[in-house]
Every structure is written in C-alpha cells, then in structure tokens.
C-alpha cells in the first residue's frame, strides 16, 4: 500500500473516532472521557496541562508538565523542513513560551517552570487561509493545511489572522510556512512532552467508552 493509501486508512479511523466522540475536527474539543482511557486525565485537560490535536498519524498530545524547554522540537522541525536550524521559523513553537511569554509564564516571570510547545490546530475553518489574499493556504489529500510556496507573497496576513500566530513568514525567503504534521518534533522530543497516540489505539479507546 502506498503512502496515500495509508493516510486514507488513518483518515477513516480518524473520522470514525470523531463520529464516535461526537466532536468536531477542531483539535482541542475532544471527549475528555475518551482521553481518560488513553491515559490523559480530564483534570489535566481542564487545567490546560495537555493540549490535544488530531494529526493524520493520530492524536498529538502536548504535556506541559513534561516539557523541559530544550527546543529540540524546533531544531528537528527546521532540520527536517527547512534544511537549517531556527526557532523563529519553526512550525512548532516553544521559544516564544520559554522566556517572558504572552501567557504570563516562562523563565523570566513569576511562573518560571511553565513552558510548552505549541503548534497549528489545523482548524476546520482556518483564519490563516481565510485571510490569505492569494488563497495560498490549501488542504491537501490528508486534510493538512499547507502554504503553496509559489502563491505566497509573504504579506503576513495569515500570521496576523491566526489567533495563535502560528504561520510564520520567513524573514529571508519572505514565504510563510506552517506545521505540515510531519511528526519530526514528536520523534525527537527527549521527554515525551510531545507524543502521538495512533488512531487505531484512539479508535479502540473510543469504542470502549
């Protein structure tokens, strides 16, 4: 089976899961009861300890208690996608939460040990795509929202429109980029603060609820 076929299989289980959970594609709104069966407590979600997003490979879980601030997620993201290392253009963002973040936490605040990675929610109704004057942000066959590098004019409308400012215009290439769910950040996370629960596991958990 080719890559596309595999994705479609996973898409199917993802749809099945979402149907069972009765929730939308938007990442955060996923049944707490179901996540409990996956080892993620309702309390943890309510208190924002974990953030959960649907990826083609499974559910992406971000656990802020486990994040150790090493920035390897950003390093692996840019090595994989950009052929360089950088924090600013990384599609997963931890540096902006590490120092004196807009959340009021970070090493230089009175809440010094709260920092975590953050990334694109793959919104069903994406503010970034809606704001793009060139319609450069499109959905590929796996349901991933990508920036068409040919069409992008680097205006920054996507960056400004995203409530979490996730798309980033590369200051050198003047092109925007965003998370394409490649999983490099998860693979290289030394603390498992970023992890993916595969869809087959999610589906069986969902059925057990």
């Amino acid at each position: 089976m080719g890559e596309k076929g595999k994705y479609l299989d996973k898409e199917y289980t993802r749809r099945q899961f979402l149907k069972l959970s009765g929730k939308s594609l938007a990442g955060l709104a996923i049944s707490a009861t179901m996540l409990n069966t996956l080892g993620v407590t309702a309390e943890a979600i309510a208190e924002d300890k974990v953030r959960v997003w649907a990826f083609p490979q499974g559910l992406l879980v971000v656990d802020s208690d486990r994040c150790v601030g090493c920035q390897r997620c950003e390093i692996n993201c840019t090595l994989t996608n950009d052929g360089c290392t950088s924090s600013y253009i990384s599609r997963v963002k931890v540096t902006r939460n590490l120092f004196s973040s807009r959340n009021g936490s970070g090493l230089y605040t009175d809440d010094p040990w709260t920092y975590f990675p953050d990334t694109c929610r793959q919104c069903e109704d994406p503010a970034c795509g809606n704001a793009c004057p060139m319609q450069a942000i499109y959905v590929d066959e796996s349901g991933i929202r990508r920036v068409d590098q040919e069409k992008c004019i680097g205006c920054g409308a996507c960056q400004a429109a995203c409530p979490w400012h996730m798309p980033t215009v590369n200051p050198v290439t003047h092109k925007s980029s965003k998370c394409i769910m490649c999983g490099a950040c998860v693979e290289g996370c030394p603390s498992g603060a970023l992890s993916i629960i595969p869809w087959d596991k999610v589906a069986s958990a969902a059925q057990a609820v």
Binding site: I89, R102, G188, P190
Partner: protein, 727 residues
C-alpha cells in the same frame, strides 16, 4: 533556505560595540577566524591582536568577547554554550580567562546572525545591549542598575518582548567584585569575574532575539547523527552511562552515586498536574532521555523529589541537568521559592557558610517540611541569592576560605567590631536560610572585609599572609597545608576541578594549564560514570589510548606514555568544547549507554557533526590539530602575562607549581599503593616534562617553542613573545 548568508555552520558576522563612542559595527568572521574555529578561539585571537597584555581587567582598553562556534545551534545536542573571554582581575598573572555560560542565550545570539560580540571601551551611562537581529542598540539601564539579576532579567525580557533572551550582572558586577558572575535563564552563569568587567564598562545586561537560522550543509545527516547520539551514546549528566538504580533493561547499575538518578517510582513530585514518574529510560530510546539525570537526587537524596517541578537546562540538550524547584518552606522566611541549578551552586557552595567548630554553635541543618530537607532548602535559598546578587565562588574557594578563616580566628582579626557584630550569627547557629542570603548581600558589596574576601584567593592570601605560615596568627599555609578546605591546585589562586583524585597524573596536569579552575570534565566523566572498572572503563579506555592509561580508584601507578596521551587529549578536548561550542560536561562521547556497543562511545562524533554542518570533511585529526593551535595561544599569552605581571620567564616553576598537600596527604600510606590518590613529586616533574614534550613546549620553561608556534601559523604570537624574551 532561511539563512542570512551563505556560510555553513558559522553565522558569518562578528559584532563590535564600542561603548566609548557608541559606534556599532560588524566584520566578517571568515577567513580571519577560521583557524581558531570559534568561541574561545575567537576570544583569544581578539585579545592577542587588540588588547595589550599590560592592560588591566577594568581598564577602558580591556575588551570582553562573547562568542559561539560552528556547532552552536547546529542541532548537535548540547550545543547551547556561550564562551566569554577577557583578562582576569583576580588570578596570578592577570592573564586571559574564559567563562562558559549555558542556558538559551547562545542559540538566540547565533540565530541573530553573530559568531561573536566584541565589547570595547566604556559607557558614560548605564546601558544594556539590545540585539534584535541586525538592529543593535544601547538602551538606557538606569532603572535596572542596582537591581538583582532576576529582576533585571525580568524587566529586560518584558520590555523587549516575548522572543528575547537576556542575561545580566547583579550588584556584585556593578560593584566590580572580582568574584562576580553573569546570569541568564534561571541560574545559568558565566563566572571568572566577567560580570565585573561588564560592570566596569557600564553594561548591565544583554537582550537578544534572533529570527534567522544556522545553515547546515547536510541537515538530514546532522539529524541522524543527533538521534544516534541520543539513542545509543548519551546517558545522564556528565554522560554517566549506567543508571544509579537498577533498571530491568540495564546490565549494570552505577558503582558510585552518579548523575543518572531517574528511576521507576522517582517522580517530579511538584509537576503542576500530578507527579511525573521518571520511569525506566532504556538505551536506544530518544523520548526518555530527559528523565535520566533528575539531578537533585544526586546532591540531596530522594527528598529533592519533594520539591522538584521538572528538569531544565540549555538549548538543544536532551539531558537536563538543572533541577527546577519550588520550595514552599522558604515562603515562611519571606524568601523566593523558585530555585534552579546543577551541582555545586545549590550544594556545598551554600552549606559551606554554616560552619561547625567555630565560636558559634552550629550543630547541623534542621528539617523544614520533610525529613532530611535541611540542606536542599538552604541550597535553594543560597543559590537563588548568590545568583541574584551575581556572586561567583571561584569553584567554592570562597566558602572554603571563609570557613578556614572563621575557624582559625583569622577572620575575626581582620573584621572591624562593627562588621563582626553586624552579622546575624544566631541565624547561622539556627541553620536559618536568611543567614546565607545575608552572606551573599555582603559578598556583593565590595566593601571592607568583604572586598578583601572576594578579591580572590591569590590576592587575599598575599595581603593577609596566608601564603606563609609565619605571617599569620594561626600558622596556616592556605596553599600547602593538608586540610579538607584546601583544594588549591596551583599557587595562582584557584582550586582543583576534578584533578588527581579522579584521574591520577593526567587530571592534575590539565588542572595546571588555565588561569582559573580548569572546568575540564573530560576525564571525570568516565571515571565517575558508575560503570564497572574492569568490565567497562579499563577495556574501553585502553582501546582508545593504550595499556596503562587508567588506574583503579586510589590504586595509582607511575606516569607513562598512555597517561600523557590521555592528559593531552583531555586538554585539547576542553578547548574544543569552548570553541565549537559544545558542553564540556557531556562531550566527548567517551562511553555509551549501549550494551550492544559494549559501552564504547564515539570520540569522532564531534568531527562527524562538523562534516555534516560544513559539507566538507573535517576529521578528528583536524579537530585536535586546531585545538593545539588554540592551546598554544592560551599558553603563549599566559607566558607574556607572567613576564609582565610577575617578572618571570618560566611557567614550569611558577604557573605550574603544585602545592605540597598534593604530595603530603595520607602521610601513613606510601605513594602508588592502594588507599591513596596522592602524587609523587619526582614522578610529577617527570609527567610535566613528558606533557610539555607532547605539546611541543620547552621542557625547561613549559612555554611553546618558536618551532611549534610557526608550525601552527602563530608567528604573530611568537613576535609578541619575542618582545619579552620568551622564545
């Protein structure tokens, strides 16, 4: 590609800030600095070319260089170090010294587009340096001056914005205290008196944001190498390669209390949403690496877990050696509850000021909230205060000197009645954390007796007659006496830092080479790894360096060629780490976690990283050759400084002289028999001769020969040494 220039590895630009004129300029890193690699090498070249060694640390003509290297922020794990180079204000000879700062500063600085920043001149106003990519400005620091580092960093970060990293000096640096340090992140520091040099120039701190990137020739290859290192090579902090507590997958558990303390049931108990179990961390897995170290347990035992929120550390490092604590009991004393550090700053550096056996009755630390938590709470209060005031301890010579002076009565003789009575001694007697906070406040003042204590051991011993038993009332010799509070490894004013007690003659040799404590962990890393000696350490090390290279603990043998090869390697590797830049606590990858590899590491990993980053072959031999060059620069400049400031043309008998305690300890046990790690005078002189020969230095003076300098393209250094008749 998102880099600002076409250079693989290097950012390509050196930033120059003249504080006298306010002029801010840039220059190319290459080709000029290529032979010196980066970091320390750039720092040394700048000092050699631009700062006459007759200059004193706080002169306007002195310069201070912040630098990174071609591997910094390349994706190579543990590449988050900044080297800071200038002239010493406190060690004998007043020569070139480096500080080595961790945290996240190096990555942001490199992403901003710089390999180094040369700070020169003197500002007539208090400023901080703001680097926002290519936009570099001097900002008003009048509101920050006088504040502790935590508040200063907080204010700078808030003012500049959420992607800025910062570092700052505290009151100690502002007051030109020799023992002062720059603080970044939450306790990461650059010591060696560098803060006072910034203070002398009117610089409170630096804020930096970098939106650029580091160009990597072969990014996929680099990523695979990094994954290989994290999976198969890297263990806990100091690359200790076997877990302390037995794990089901592990063949061995550590023979000593090492720096791999994570284990099932050991939890980061104050994680906000419920304790995080550190679990098993098998070799071969990336996603568990950060749980291995769980550092605080090594210092304080399992009670450390009661206050542990998580483990932090530097950019790009999977190991995490900074325990991040929340210590509720400190709130009862109106002290900050957040503390973070590795090793000594939370440990003996603080406990050492609570002294038994003096005229006040301190009988031990009491519990605060949990059984046995006395030391960790004192450590948290003290490390936080020490960092906030920005005081350095000269690798704990400050508490050691203080304790000896107090117990012998010499301290009281040198204090005024007011100074003595002003101290709340009852807080020391009670084991109260406010005692240590009070100590650091005074140490940062640069006033009265405190100024004398913090001027550095070298000048303190000289002015109080502590270097000669006939010159002080207690009949002590602070260099030579066998005393648990004496670890001075030379007569230059700094202590040993993993010396003969860890690595026989080899360890002592590299301890003699610098103008501060050597900060060289290359040998202690495998010695204290916890691996069994006969099954792992000996076969792996002999495969690298030949038979006889290692001795079992306290069962030493005379010097031999293999031990000299080891000493030279450890010396060159240290320079490499501060040039590349890579963490010297972790590299080289001498051992591994992998039973399949029979625990053999990969000494050539660093040069493989270089090849992947640069896109052209850079061999292990290239690496060691480049580091010989940098080592000769250190040595040559040290020789010039000793000629200028000490009037000598010989380092062997002065700079490299070894205090008597190294040979006279354990008087009842003969040298080279089981039970002692002491050294033998004659054997050590032979070791020096062999080491100098291996380095291409004169065996008579310990100074690089003209032939050696020319071989490494250091004719400019040779010309300067000629001016002082050193060749």
């Amino acid at each position: 590609m998102s880099v600002k220039n076409g250079i693989n590895g290097w950012a390509g630009t050196i930033l120059r800030i003249n504080l006298t004129t306010g002029e801010i300029t840039t220059e190319d890193t290459l080709p000029k600095f290529r032979p010196y690699v980066g970091g320390m090498g750039i720092g040394y070249k700048v000092i050699l070319d631009e700062v006459p060694l007759t200059t004193k640390a706080f002169d306007e003509a002195n310069k201070i260089i912040f630098s990174v290297g071609p591997l910094t922020a390349s994706g190579a794990p543990c590449s988050g170090r900044t080297t800071i180079t200038s002239l010493s204000s406190w060690s004998k000879g007043l020569s070139v010294v480096d500080a080595h700062m961790g945290g996240h500063f190096a990555h942001n600085f490199k992403y901003a587009g710089y390999d180094a920043m040369i700070i020169e001149g003197k500002s007539d106003k208090h400023v901080y340096i703001k680097i926002d990519d290519e936009k570099v400005t001097l900002e008003d620091a009048s509101e920050l001056w006088g504040k502790g580092t935590f508040e200063a960093n907080k204010l700078m970060a808030k003012t500049c914005g959420d992607e800025f990293d910062v570092c700052s000096i505290g009151p100690a640096g502002e007051n030109l205290v020799h023992y002062s340090t720059i603080i970044t992140s939450r306790g990461n520091s650059g010591g060696a008196g560098m803060a006072a040099i910034l203070g002398s120039k009117g610089v409170k701190g630096i804020a930096v944001r970098g939106t650029g990137a580091v160009k990597i020739a072969r990014p996929q290859e680099l990523k695979l190498l990094a994954n290989y290192m994290i999976k198969d090579l890297v263990g806990g902090n100091n690359n200790h390669n076997v877990p302390r507590v037995p794990q089901t997958w592990a063949e061995y558990s550590a023979t000593v209390n090492n720096r791999w303390q994570g284990a099932p049931g050991r939890k980061w108990e104050l994680a906000p949403h419920g304790a995080v179990d550190t679990g098993e961390q098998p070799s071969g897995q990336i996603n568990v690496a950060a749980y291995r170290c769980t550092k605080g347990v090594q210092e304080f035992g399992e009670v450390a877990l009661k206050y542990m929120v998580k483990q932090g550390g530097c950019s790009s490092c999977p190991v995490r050696c900074y325990s991040e604590y929340e210590m509720e009991p400190l709130a009862d004393y109106d002290l900050p509850v957040h503390a973070s550090n590795a090793c000594l700053p939370t440990g003996s550096g603080q406990q050492g000021f609570y002294i038994k056996g003096g005229e006040h009755k301190f009988e031990g630390f009491h519990d605060f909230k949990y059984e046995g938590d006395g030391k960790i709470i004192i450590g948290g209060a003290g490390s936080r205060a020490m960092d906030d005031y920005g005081v350095d301890t000269n690798y704990n010579n400050l508490p050691r000197d203080f304790a000896r002076l107090y117990k012998s009565g010499i301290l009281k003789e040198h204090m005024t009645e007011e100074e003595w009575n002003e101290l709340p001694w009852e807080l020391m007697e009670q084991g109260d954390p406010r005692w240590i906070v009070e100590i650091w406040k005074h140490m940062a003042s640069n006033k009265g007796v405190w100024a004398e204590l913090t001027q550095g051991s070298y000048f303190l011993y000289k002015s109080w007659g502590l270097d000669d038993a006939s010159k002080n009332s207690a009949g002590l010799n602070f260099y030579d006496d066998v005393d648990s509070n004496n670890t001075n490894v030379t007569y230059n004013g700094y202590p040993k830092h993993h010396s003969a007690e860890d690595a026989w003659q080899s360890g002592l040799l590299y301890n003699l080479m610098y103008n501060r404590d050597c900060m060289d962990h290359v040998l202690t890393n495998f010695v204290r790894s916890g691996s069994p000696f006969e099954e792992v350490i000996k076969p792996v090390m002999e495969e690298y360096f030949g038979e006889g290279v290692v001795d079992p603990p306290k069962a030493y043998t005379p010097i031999n060629d293999a031990k000299i090869r080891l000493a030279k390697w450890a010396f060159l590797e240290k320079q490499w780490h501060d040039c590349a830049t890579l963490c010297n606590w972790m590299y080289p990858m001498t051992l591994s976690t992998s039973p399949k590899r029979r625990y053999r590491g990969d000494l050539e990993l660093d040069s493989k990283y270089m090849t992947a980053v640069l896109g052209e072959e850079y061999t292990y031999e290239d690496q060691l050759h480049d580091m010989e060059r940098v080592s000769h620069m250190l040595r040559g400049m040290t020789a010039i400084s000793f000629a200028i400031n000490e009037g000598v043309k010989n380092l062997r008998d002065t700079h490299d002289a070894i205090p008597a305690w190294n040979f006279d300890k354990d008087p009842d046990i003969p040298v080279f028999t089981e039970g002692t790690d002491k050294m033998d005078r004659e054997d050590m002189e032979k070791a020096k001769t062999m080491f100098y020969e291996a380095m291409g230095w004169s065996t008579e003076t310990g100074i690089p020969t003209r032939e050696t300098l020319e071989k490494f393209g250091l004719e400019d250094l040779a010309a300067k040494m000629d001016e002082y008749g050193l060749l």
